[in-house]
């Protein structure tokens, strides 16, 4: 029982990371209708920025998060404005191709700059935590879950409580109608992508404290973000939070607690659930029926 509780806690904690990664991905997909294959690369850019600030300026990784978010916001805005806006109305295939290309460029630029050495942000409190009834809760992972929730709440507030958010949602709902009421589409597109990139940067900062990073470490996260968004349901922050936590839980319990199976089956279990959701509830666990 103690072991089961421990696994549930671990599942929730890793789920927090998946939430942080998937929020930006969901935003870009839901509003811009772009499946951003460079999302994982943006996450790793955030991770490297956090590492740079930690290694060179001895800045605590959690204090570095706002700086990383601002930097990625600017980068995301420029990227969308200069590049991705050009294919925004093109068929899905072109946007896939372009973001795949952007992914390659970013990853290889990181390889040139940082080499493929493994880097890790290891502050003094790394690995410490507290235990309740034999169940260990590491501080860093708990803080990562906390940050993910804060990011989710902030993005939810931005979308639902501000004029900018209303404009973003309007663009997501109907581009032409949004333009008719005077919304600057190119700016709103860029703004949306910038917010998503900032979220990716924060997720990367969290990841740099819990695993070793290399320039190619982002690719699995693009896939995980995709699964989380499908699982939760597209277009709502709350759905992404549920999707991320459920995915983290299923992955961890599937790896460890299913008798007769081993961790080698973790991916198979996760994707079986994905297929099941698509068949039974195609709008996602929390999605609205369109």
């Amino acid at each position: 029982m103690q072991l089961f509780l421990q696994q549930v806690v671990l599942g929730l904690l890793i789920g927090g990371v998946y939430v942080a990664v998937a929020i930006g991905f969901s935003l870009v997909w839901g509003i811009l209708n772009i499946v951003n294959l460079a999302h994982g690369a943006l996450v790793i850019v955030g991770a490297y920025l956090t590492w740079l600030l930690f290694a060179r300026a001895r800045l605590d990784p959690f204090l570095a998060l706002p700086i990383v978010a601002v930097a990625l916001f600017a980068f995301g805005y420029a990227l969308q404005r200069a590049l991705i806006n050009r294919v925004i109305r093109a068929p899905l295939f072109f946007t896939l191709l372009l973001t795949f290309g952007v992914n390659l460029v970013i990853v290889n630029a990181l390889l040139v700059i940082f080499k493929s050495d493994f880097r890790s942000v290891t502050p003094g409190y790394s690995g410490s935590g507290f235990g309740i009834a034999g169940v260990q809760v590491p501080y860093i992972r708990l803080a990562a879950l906390g940050v993910a929730v804060v990011v989710a709440v902030a993005v939810g507030w931005l979308l639902n409580r501000t004029r900018t958010g209303a404009a973003i949602q309007a663009v997501g709902a109907d581009r032409d109608a949004a333009r008719l009421v005077g919304i600057d589409l190119r700016h709103v597109y860029a703004l949306t992508f910038a917010v998503a990139a900032a979220c990716a940067g924060v997720a990367g900062g969290l990841i740099s404290t819990i695993q070793a990073i290399t320039p190619t470490a982002g690719e699995p996260y693009t896939l995980q973000a995709f699964v989380v968004v499908v699982l939760g349901g597209l277009g709502r922050v709350g759905a992404t939070v549920v999707g991320g936590l459920v995915f983290g839980m299923v992955e961890t319990l599937g790896q460890t607690m299913v008798p007769g199976l081993g961790a080698g089956w973790a991916n198979a279990i996760a994707f079986a659930i994905l297929v099941l959701v698509l068949v039974v509830r195609p709008q996602g666990l929390m999605g609205r029926i369109a």
Binding site: K115, S116, T122, S126, E251, T252, G264
Partner: protein, 416 residues
């Protein structure tokens, strides 16, 4: 530049022939010892870019060290004719299928007479097929999976110890420690190499009196292994072993600290021997063991080439670094030495003659003994066990080559 070298040596050899002819005419031909022959072309597919570019760069350093040395000696001596060496590199972008294509290109277009191996078991396995098909000897130092050598190939030779002995040395050492550990948790990635390492451990452990209390495998490249570490902790093992790669070795060690898994001994097949591991984990990396092909502290008496100390010094000078060469560098240089010695022993550049000389090779180098079994892999060199002590790598087993004693048992996380 290569073309220039070829022309230059061409002129040299012409001059040498003329000089010999004149000497002969003069009737005084006393000690015409060696002449210079054509350059020898050796093909090398290598991970210059891509996911294994880090390790690929290390392997290339090992090859380049030998290249500089052998050409300073005037080349490989084949029956008193010295052949300077050219290494032709092709970037396989760390992908096995591309590596195989480039190996064929090296043979047919670049006219490579021999091959040195790429980096990694997967690329080596696919290049081996090409080497065998073309009957071109390939000597490799960076693919330890036995699957490469179970195909009945005749032209493929590996100078490194095979995967199945990567962690058995750790168990040998553990059996001598006091208090003797009794239980083992074994985690392994699901790739070929890691599974061979793990299988050997589960077969070998009972014979040394260890009980395997937990064993599981995870997808290669996993970064979230906390769940498995929690499972291992529930079995309270004395020894935690991992057979995987650097990324997973870091993930498991971080999770062990997160979850307060207090093993008496932790050993990981690949990872801890790299400087990255210590940088990534800081002082948490202390006490960790690993099985290593070679360390800069080993004591072997080489029959030719450099001693271990000279090798380390020469490495630092050539690459202008303070770092010691790690085993990727050393095993790559060792592959070159095996090929060189076999060519010299064969007294021929014919592929089949050199192949036979490789099969019969038995020589001790700075890397240890190089001798191949009937499959073509070096089962005669022992693995050494390293431990990280106070942020530095030390060789702790076997005691004949060790520079210090193992620190054991590992203190619990709350006491360090």
């Amino acid at each position: 530049m290569m073309g220039g070298t070829t022309r230059f040596t061409g002129v040299l050899s012409l001059a040498a022939v003329l000089a010999l002819a004149c000497g002969g005419a003069g009737g005084g031909g006393a000690a015409a010892t060696t002449t210079t022959g054509e350059d020898l072309v050796i093909g090398v597919p290598m991970s210059i870019t891509g996911s294994q570019s880090k390790e690929g760069a290390l392997a290339k350093q090992g090859y380049d060290m030998w290249l500089q040395w052998i050409n300073q000696q005037g080349g490989i001596n084949v029956k008193s004719v010295k052949h300077k060496v050219q290494l032709k590199y092709e970037d396989d972008t760390s992908k096995a299928d591309i590596s195989a294509q480039l190996t064929q290109k090296l043979i047919t277009e670049e006219k490579a007479q021999f091959l040195l191996g790429p980096y990694g078991s997967a690329t080596t396995a696919s290049d081996a097929v090409v080497a065998e098909k073309n009957s071109i000897p390939m000597v490799e130092g960076n693919g330890a999976a036995q699957a490469i050598f179970s195909q009945g190939y005749k032209y493929v030779f590996g100078v490194l110890s095979p995967a199945n002995v990567y962690l058995t040395g750790v168990l040998d050492m553990a059996a001598t420690l006091s208090p003797k550990p009794a239980t083992v948790a074994m985690l392994a990635a699901d790739d070929n190499f890691s599974q061979e390492v793990a299988k050997a451990v589960t077969e070998y452990a009972p014979s040394k009196g260890f009980q395997i209390v937990y064993s599981d495998k995870y997808p290669n490249g996993s970064t979230n292994l906390s769940g498995l570490v929690a499972n291992a902790k529930a079995r309270n093992p004395d020894i935690v072993l991992n057979s995987g790669h650097l990324q997973e070795a870091i993930a498991i060690h971080k999770a062990a600290k997160d979850l307060k898994l207090d093993a008496k001994l932790s050993a990981y097949s690949v990872g801890p021997s790299t400087p990255d591991y210590i940088v990534a984990l800081g002082k948490d990396a202390n006490y960790v063991f690993d099985g290593s092909q070679w360390t800069p502290q080993v004591k072997y008496t080489p029959a030719f080439y450099l001693t271990v100390q000279d090798y380390v010094a020469s490495y630092k000078k050539q690459f202008n670094t303070q770092d010691d060469p790690d085993y990727h560098v050393a095993e790559s240089t060792a592959a070159c030495l095996a090929l060189q010695k076999a060519i010299e022993n064969a007294g021929s550049l014919k592929p089949d003659k050199v192949r036979d000389a490789l099969a019969a090779l038995n020589v001790t180098t700075f890397f240890g003994q190089i001798k191949f079994d009937s499959r073509g892999i070096n089962t005669f060199k022992p693995m050494v066990v390293e431990q990280i002590q106070d942020g530095k790598h030390h060789t702790v087993w076997p005691s004949s080559v060790a520079d210090t004693k193992p620190q054991y048992p590992t203190p619990s996380w709350s006491n360090r």
